[in-house]
C-alpha cells in the first residue's frame, strides 16, 4: 500500500491517523513530489487535516517527553528523503507499545530518529557559531547562510534572546526564506534579490566601521594561531570547507 501526502509535517501526522483508522498493514509513505504510480501496489491519497494531525501530536506528547517531541521535529526538518518513512514507522511503534518505548535503542526507527535529530542539532549549533552578522548603513545586522538542513526555525529563540536590542536578519539562501527581528517579534520574510554583502560591489550598503571590524577580526584570528601546532586536518574537521565562504576570517 502506498500513501501519498503533501510533504508537510501535518500531512505526515494525518497519514499516521489514517493508518490507525484503516489498518492498512505494510505502508510506504511518499510525498506528492516523488510519487510514481506503481502497477502492483494500490495507492491512497492523504488529505491533510489539521484536527487529525493535532490529535496525533498530542497523543505522542502524552507518551513521550518534550525532548523526544523535539527529536521528531528535528528529524522532519532534516528534509532527508528516508526520514518521512522513519518518522511514520516511529510514530506507529510508539502508539503500539506502552509508554517508555522510545528508550529502546535496539529498535531501528528509534535509533534512526535519534541519530538524524543529532545531525540536525549539530548543524543548528554550527549555524549559531558560524553566522557572522554584518552591519548595514541603516543599523540592521544581516547574514546569509545555506545550512545542510532547514534549521532556521530552530535558530529563532537563540538569536531573539541574545540580540534583543538590535534589528537582525538571517536569510537562508538555498531555501529562499529568512527571519527578521524588528525589536519586538521575529517574522518570516522572503526577499526577491539574494544579496551577498560580502561581495565588493555591495560594500556601499555597509556601515562605515564594518570593514574596520572585519579587519580587526581577521587580525585577531591570525594572532591566536600557534604556528608550531599547525594541524590542517583537525582544522578542516571542525570547520568544514563548505562553510568557509561565509566566514569573514577565511576570505
Amino acid at each position: 500500500m502506498i500513501y501519498i501526502f503533501d510533504g508537510s509535517l501535518e500531512g505526515l501526522l494525518t497519514a499516521v491517523f489514517e493508518w490507525f483508522e484503516r489498518k492498512s498493514g505494510n505502508v510506504k509513505l511518499t510525498p506528492q513530489s516523488k510519487y510514481q504510480p506503481d502497477a502492483f501496489m494500490p495507492s491512497f491519497e492523504i488529505l491533510t487535516n489539521r484536527a487529525k494531525a493535532d490529535r496525533v501530536w498530542k497523543g505522542l506528547a502524552k507518551r513521550m517527553g518534550r525532548d523526544w517531541m523535539r527529536r521528531v521535529y528535528c528529524a522532519y526538518l532534516s528534509e532527508l528523503e528516508e526520514m518521512h518513512q522513519e518518522i511514520f514507522g516511529f510514530c506507529i511503534y510508539i502508539f503500539q507499545h506502552p509508554a517508555g518505548a522510545e528508550k529502546n535503542y535496539g529498535n531501528a526507527h528509534v535509533l534512526n530518529i535519534a541519530q538524524t535529530a543529532r545531525k540536525v542539532e549539530r548543524e543548528k549549533h554550527r549555524m549559531e557559531a558560524f553566522i557572522r552578522f554584518q552591519k548595514t548603513a541603516d543599523g540592521l545586522f544581516y547574514c546569509g547562510i545555506d545550512p545542510d538542513f532547514n534549521v532556521i526555525p530552530l535558530l529563532v529563540n537563540h538569536f531573539k534572546n541574545r540580540y534583543a536590542d538590535q534589528q537582525w536578519i538571517i536569510y537562508d539562501i538555498k531555501r529562499h526564506y529568512g527571519i527578521l527581528y524588528n525589536l519586538q517579534t521575529v517574522e518570516e520574510i522572503e526577499m526577491d534579490v539574494d544579496i551577498n554583502l560580502l561581495k565588493k560591489a555591495n560594500q556601499h550598503m555597509l556601515d562605515e566601521q564594518e570593514l574596520l571590524y572585519a579587519d580587526l577580526w581577521k587580525d585577531y584570528f591570525k594572532s591566536t594561531n600557534i604556528v608550531a601546532r599547525k594541524n590542517t586536518k583537525l582544522h578542516k574537521q571542525h570547520v568544514p570547507k563548505r562553510y568557509w565562504k561565509y566566514l569573514t576570517e577565511k576570505l
Binding site: 535496539g106 549559531e128 557559531a129 534572546n161 580587526l216 577580526w217 587580525d219 594541524n231
Partner: protein
C-alpha cells in the same frame, strides 16, 4: 587611530594565546534587562584556529608590560618585545562590536602585572564593570585572578565575571622555583581557596534570599605547562587530582610547552611541542572526571608514565584483565564504562536498551561502540564461544593491527631482537 588599535590587538592577542582555556560554557546568564547577550549552557565555538583549537572568546591581555621575569613566559620583563596596553574603553568597544556580529561568545581578559597586583586587578575590574553595568552586556566573561590582589577586588570582580582562573604554570613547586624564583604555588592556592569559599557562601545565601547576585557561576579553572620541566605524568596528574578535589575546579588545562627562548633550563627553540603527551594527559583527565577512575589506578609508582601507543583506558584494561570479560546484558553501568571502546553516551544507551531485551552484536555496533576494540572485553547474547584465552600483549597486538590511529605513523624505538 584604527591602525594603532590593530597594532595593539595583534600584540596583545598574540601574547594571550598561550593560555589555552577556551571554554564558554557553564553560564546560564539570561538577557533579562533588554540588553545584549546571554550565556549558552554548553558554550559555542565560533571558529577554530589552524592548529585545531577552538576560538570562542576574545582572548587578550590588557597589557603585556610585566614586572616579573618568569623564564617560560613570552612577556617576561627581560624579553625584548613590543609592549602595548589597551585603554578600558578600547577593550569595551572591541568586545561589544565583536559580540554584536556574533564573532565571539564573550571576553577572556588577562594581563601582565604592571605596577602591582592591586593596580592591575582594579583596571581589569573597571573593564568588566563597564561591560555589565553601562553596556548591559550579558555574555560570557572569563577573568584571570591576579595573584596578590586584595580580597575586596577579587570579590567584586566575581560578581560580574562568569569564570575566574589562575594558572599553576609548573606542576610542582620545585619546577616553578627553577624557572620563576619570585613566585610560588602558595600565590595561586590562596586566591583559588578564597574564591572557592566565596562561591560556596554565595550559593548558600542564595538558597535563603532570592536576590543574592550570581558569583562566578561557571566556576574556576587552572592550567599547567607540560614539558618545560622534567616532571613525570604521575606527578602532573596527581597534582591535577589534588586541585580538582581541594578547590572544586571545573577544569584543569594541560598546555604543551612551545619553546620561546634558548634558555638552557627548558627545551630550546625548534623542539617539537609534546602534542601526543598532552593528548594522553587529557584522556587521563577525562577518565578521572567522567568514567569514575581514581588517578592512582591509572598512574602510580609502578606506572609513572602514560603509554604513548595506546590510550590510558585500554592500558588500564590490559593491566587488569581479571575484571574481564563482562556480560553486557547484566553488568552494572559503572563496569560497562570501563570497557575500552565504550563511551559515556553508548553506556547510557546500552543500559536503557537492554530493558527491552537482550542486546546482540549488530545492535551494539549500531549504537556506536568501537566493537573491534570492545569485543575482547565483553560478552553479548550472540558472542561466539571462545576456547582460547588470550594474553594482554596478544590482545594489544590485535587492537594495534586494526588501529587507524595517526600516532602509529610515527616510528617507535628499535625492535628488540632478543
Amino acid at each position: 587611530m584604527s591602525e594603532r588599535l590593530r597594532e595593539k590587538l595583534n600584540i596583545l592577542a598574540d601574547a594571550a594565546k598561550y593560555d589555552v582555556s577556551c571554554s564558554s560554557s557553564g553560564s546560564d546568564r539570561k538577557n533579562t534587562n533588554k540588553g545584549v547577550g546571554n550565556g549558552h549552557k554548553s558554550g559555542i565555538c565560533h571558529t577554530y584556529t589552524e592548529d585545531g583549537r577552538c576560538v570562542s572568546l576574545l582572548k587578550i591581555l590588557f597589557t603585556n608590560h610585566c614586572i616579573f621575569d618568569c623564564a617560560y613566559c613570552v612577556s617576561r620583563k627581560s624579553n625584548d618585545i613590543e609592549r602595548a596596553a589597551f585603554t578600558v574603553d578600547e577593550v569595551v568597544e572591541l568586545t561589544m562590536n565583536f559580540y554584536r556580529r556574533n564573532y565571539i561568545e564573550g571576553l577572556f581578559l588577562s594581563s601582565g602585572i604592571f605596577k602591582n597586583a592591586d593596580f592591575t586587578m582594579e583596571r581589569l575590574l573597571r573593564v568588566v564593570k563597564k561591560l555589565r553595568l553601562e553596556q548591559n552586556y550579558n555574555g560570557y566573561i572569563h577573568l584571570k585572578t591576579i595573584p596578590g590582589a586584595s580580597d575586596e577586588l577579587i570579590t567584586e570582580a566575581g560578581l560580574y565575571a562568569d569564570r575566574m582562573s589562575i594558572n599553576l604554570e609548573m606542576p610542582t613547586e620545585a619546577g616553578l622555583k627553577l624557572l620563576a624564583p619570585e613566585k610560588s604555588h602558595q600565590d595561586v592556592i590562596k586566591p583559588l581557596g578564597f574564591v572557592k569559599n566565596q562561591i560556596i557562601q554565595f550559593k548558600e545565601e542564595k538558597k535563603l534570599i532570592k536576590s543574592v547576585p550570581k558569583f562566578v557561576p561557571a566556576g574556576q579553572s587552572t592550567q599547567m605547562v607540560i614539558g618545560a620541566t622534567p616532571e613525570t605524568d604521575k606527578e602532573i596528574m596527581h597534582t591535577a587530582a589534588a586541585f580538582y578535589k581541594n578547590f572544586s575546579l571545573k577544569r584543569v588545562y594541560y598546555s604543551g610547552y612551545i619553546p620561546i627562548s634558548n634558555d638552557s633550563r627548558m627545551p630550546i627553540l625548534g623542539t617539537q611541542p609534546p602534542l601526543l603527551r598532552e593528548n594522553r594527559l587529557y584522556q587521563t583527565d577525562w577518565l578521572m572526571r567522567f568514567y569514575g577512575f581514581d588517578v592512582r589506578e591509572l598512574l602510580n609508582d609502578a606506572n609513572p608514565h602514560l603509554d604513548t601507543d595506546i590510550d590510558p583506558k585500554l592500558s588500564w584494561a590490559l593491566r587488569n584483565m581479571h575484571h574481564f570479560p563482562i556480560d553486557i546484558n547484566t553488568a552494572d553501568y559503572k563496569t560497562i564504562l570501563r570497557v575500552p571502546g565504550i563511551g559515556v553516551g553508548s553506556a547510557q544507551k546500552i543500559v536503557q536498551a537492554r530493558k527491552f531485551g537482550k542486546l546482540y552484536i549488530h545492535q551494539l555496533k549500531k549504537i556506536g561502540i568501537a566493537y573491534n576494540r570492545a569485543k575482547h572485553f565483553i560478552i553479548c547474547a550472540d558472542t561466539p564461544y571462545q576456547l582460547k584465552d588470550f594474553q594482554s600483549h596478544q590482545i594489544k597486538g590485535f587492537i594495534l593491527a586494526e588501529s587507524q590511529s595517526k600516532y602509529l605513523k610515527t616510528p617507535s624505538e628499535q625492535l628488540l631482537l632478543f
